[in-house]
Subunit: 147 residues, 12 copies
């Protein structure tokens, strides 16, 4: 059974309450339910993690080594400056999908820069909570093709 | 039945023959077969279009108005400088998904800039031909939610 | 009788339907009617041309040599990056007026750069379809003064 | 009767004497005569103002409130750095046309930046003294359409 | 009674001992005493928080929702790069005042950039510990005016 | 009795009439009444000055030498480019507070640069007319501490 | 017999008539005669192609695959921004020589940037029509050495 | 007898009192005495002018036309941004020498840019009041050589 | 006995397992053994600390005050953006040596910027685990010379 | 008989031994033999010069005046920053060809800037030792056409 | 007797022959005669030095220590990039005057940057050979005032 | 016996006399004595070289090929712009250590850029003369590990 680590970055615990015009009305719990349902459908196992602390996200990503076959990560605001998370993803050597709820390219200019994008396999951007579901689908195809 | 315009930009007609280390070994015809199969599965109708000429892509995008409910577009090299294609997409007022086969963020710096990204709904980047399949899936969810 | 080539660039065929908040509700046909009426009033002859394809606009501008005494051109999105159109205008050696319907200086930053502005005689920006009418007036004064 | 404030910025009092290769041989008085003739033709009333002092131009622009229905302004060198004049124009809430005698885009790079352009209705650039005449014409159309 | 969250960022626990030429000789405890005294005077209730950890500050700011009517925050070094704290402040939807002890504009160039400034109500910069006292005063006026 | 020079820059004479969404509905006269009331409360004497002319503001700031113990200055648009006013403030050697009515960091990018900020003691930004009141309070604390 | 594709970009059809001070008085037909004469001398076969349309140049370059052993290309204005032509050249995997008639380094700054230079074998710049003759010579040496 | 206009810009009336560590202890009156003495020695006539107002400096420079054979100007802070003064100097067509008391290249970065330098004959920088004396000497040589 | 704090930043706990081509095969434990051996040889006492969390590193550096005479720090990815760690180092007032295992100058451009370099005594870069040993040697010489 | 100075810049004496993957296996002596053979074929006389010292290259270029009719120069690393060599080439007033062995546009970004390119007649880049041979050919055509 | 080292940089040995439109018709020998005459008039002793080699200029400047009381230096092209000459001037601790024959501010952009300007006492720019004469005069005043 | 070339760049011959606040009071001879003592201790042989001339340093570095197993180089001011020295170091293929006496990161901004850093093995920065001693130690470890 394919095992996937799903990491939610800072302020994603505020989803639904935080600027719904930008991020939608779905809460993180609701998104997590959808992620788990999709995982079941795809016969994958997911481990869900959220933290506001950059270094804890680094640690969570490191912990994927030896357990997971792939990573889905929405680094939130850290996307744009965290070289530490970038280094952690690269260190795992695992396929990873970067997800963003909103279309970061249509917002402030600094949100167009992603420190993590060059070290992941691909990005899924702008589809709200659907992004995670699509990411699991994408990861499954990648992992099955590689194995 | 949801109708979708799928646009392939310059040099995508070379797929399979062109730098397979970067773009994979799948040909455009093979990808198109996969797109049509997925469309059938999702009960969508797709119209497929490829051109090397920026202005023809502008025209194809314009032609979506009144026929399609959504657009999947891989503007290829034009992604990085075509304000004309950007304007055409914005002019349609339709939901659109930008697809890139390779992870453009892990290549030359000029490939990180997308002129079209701010006017589409979302991007799917780095999953090879799977990107189109995921894009149809994403568009279906968007269109059904809006209607 | 003074002969003038009038060139409309990409997406201008969508006028009236395309983002009327930005570009107004007048269609290109309606503007062309106004251009011809003004030309008749000023005893000028106009040839009207529209294309979405950069290279066709290059060709149209080249064709002005030997026929027209002046050019009115709205290069649309190509304004901001087409060195090819710039070179074509310079190659004609004719007085030319660059027209923009919207105030490009009040929009996205990339619309403030004009590749063609340094090689035309002058610009008329921000007056919608009136811009073409004013441009014919301006060209007439320039051509009569020079001759 | 439509009332228009016409503002000439620094060094425009030197016209005809100052670098005629760049600015032409017409003096400011001669241009003002032409402006008044055009105003009479269009049944408009104009008030003419020239100053070398940025803050006096700010004051003149402010004074348009309650008297004029539109502004024609050539801020001269202040175009490129005067946020104060920009703020004054925006504060009036009136339609305004920015005029430049020479084609500023074909000169030094710093003359391509206009601080005032984003807050005016439109620009007319590169037609010498004709620019003011065209500006009155343009303003008349705008004001009549709005009223 | 108005409730205010006061957040002190990294290294502010070193105040008094850390470069007194730049930050003054007052300790954080002494400043907190002054804040509480001022709050009592203004009939406000304050909750005081300090952390060196960016993600903990994100969490503290989030916790203001539902308890506080306003935020006073000195993000310290994080001011200049923490998009995560910026997002947290924006997510609360509360009026916030950014305080800096030293005049950041008179120091290294990188201290002139504030990631948080665009999402707060106002800044008070350069007055040492007085800044917090002024901030409470400012917040009280804002909250009373809004209610 | 502490004497303070209060300087209002260009367009501030338009307050209340000028873009109230940005600058509020209070007029400069109303703000000046509040400044004088606060000064009376703090047992300070204020001299109020407004000009649209950069060089007159330079002169006013110079005149503070030998009369005032401190300066409150809102240089308005000149904030962003007037090295002359910067030099004048530095030449006085007096403590000075820079005030801005609106949050300049949340507006156009060019308003984030302050030429004067590095030579004043501190800034108070974004609190409308309250900013002047807070500035008097801040200056009083500074002057009393220094003396 | 070595086969070479020779591609002339936009506005090169205007040679001899277009700004002879910059580009010389030789027409494209005259240059083509010289190219064919040199090819005969070197026992090479050349196919000559000119277009103003970027996408047609892309197509012509693609067509070299399977027919030519090398490419001589003067992308004209497209040199400076066409990532599409760059990608097409790279996709062929053939040795290519970029030719410019004028010394692009001694002209406007934007002509110093070449998008195609990094993917060709070499450049020959500034020798007018001679550049093509030298390019054939250079290509012959490269192809013979490689084979 | 050679006639020279000498222009002192903003804050130079504060000399001697203003940051003597940077600008020296000599007052403007003392410098003017030295200028007049040198003029007498060189059999030149000087007219001395100081203003804090940019537009008045523009006017003073314009007034040199028809009276002076040369200009000595220290534009003070306006050096770094006044395109208006630059245009005025260029409009006179007279030889001009730009003087700075302090070595502007050894101070803040923004003082290294001179808007006026490209339109004067030469600069003399960093010699305090001696700069004016050297400038008169230089101008005399230039004017005598040209005549 | 000289006391030294040794701080390892984010992802250094992954050494040996993380991209050995870049960082070598030595684990952090092996490096720490070497550090302690060298300390013993130099008659120094070391305290070893590793964290992935920026704010914990800030805290660890602060804790050196009153205990250590010097700091050896490899801030890892935080090197390139952590103003908080920079401020903490500066606040201690202790001599500090910045160590990097790989030659950061030969990698991605963003790794060439060090926020901490301006506040440390010196850097040792590119020597793998040897860097720490050399750093202890360097610190000993500095501390003995100062005392 | 046409006389040509051929100048080889720094490190070219290392050819064949220095990074053959980049610069090829041919030594400078072998290239010089080829240059002399080609010169004999073209009935030209060449003087060959190599130096690692920028100022000696300046001197060699100066020495061409009065002896040579043209210059072939590969300034090596000095290409990218030597304004002194640029000035020397311009001072000779002779036609000059800049040669580079490798395709500098496909290497580090700083190698794309050439200080000398704007003052030479043309460049030949990327053809290894063949470049010199082509350069002699090009120079012969230029000199014969001019004479 | 005051002793002055006069240093002429690269290509100045070409004066009179090199681009007289830019640098004038006077040769270096003629300028040196004028320098010596002025020195005699001012009762100074000069040592004259010219080299095209940056490092020899470094050596010459170093040699001023212990012999000269001041330096006049025209670093020619090295002005714009020689940190080595800058460091040498600073190392002498002597007053130095930087001279340029032409107005470097009115030429190519790269000539506006001076690496040496921040470490000299002053600059004299744009007066041809007169610049050296003025520099001796300036140095004499500085040295006499200091002693 | 390991042989090492030690290269000192421009102005290092002035050590002890040159700005001792920045570079320390030790002379180059004293440092060289220390280097030789350390070499003896490590059983290495060193060849010491100093020059102010960039091209001579290039030559010295080239001469290491075939004699030395490693290079210690302090390129002094040339560090920041000498691509020629960079190319020479890379051409040797030897391990090299870049040494700087002062902490270049804490000085002028242009000293933060090193052209040579990407081609050396490592840097040792900020430890005065100790840097060379540490560099020998580092080189010995590298060479012994590689052999």
């Amino acid at each position: 059974m394919i095992k996937i680590l799903v990491v939610h970055g800072p302020n994603l615990n505020m989803l639904g309450r935080r600027e719904p015009g930008v991020y939608g009305v779905e809460t993180l719990d609701q998104i997590n339910v959808r992620i788990e349902a999709k995982a079941t459908e795809l016969e994958m196992e997911v481990r869900l993690f959220q933290s506001n602390i950059e270094g804890e996200i680094v640690g969570a990503v490191q912990s994927a080594v030896g357990w997971a076959q792939g990573i889905v990560i929405n680094p939130g605001a850290y996307t744009h400056y965290s070289i530490a998370i970038r280094d952690a993803i690269a260190a795992t050597g695992l396929p990873a999908v970067e997800v963003h709820l909103s279309n970061v390219h249509a917002r402030e200019k600094f949100r167009r820069r992603s420190m993590t994008a060059p070290v992941v396999t691909g990005q899924i951007v702008g589809f709200g909570g659907d992004g995670y579901v699509l990411a699991l689908d994408a990861l499954k195809r990648i992992i099955e093709r590689e194995s």
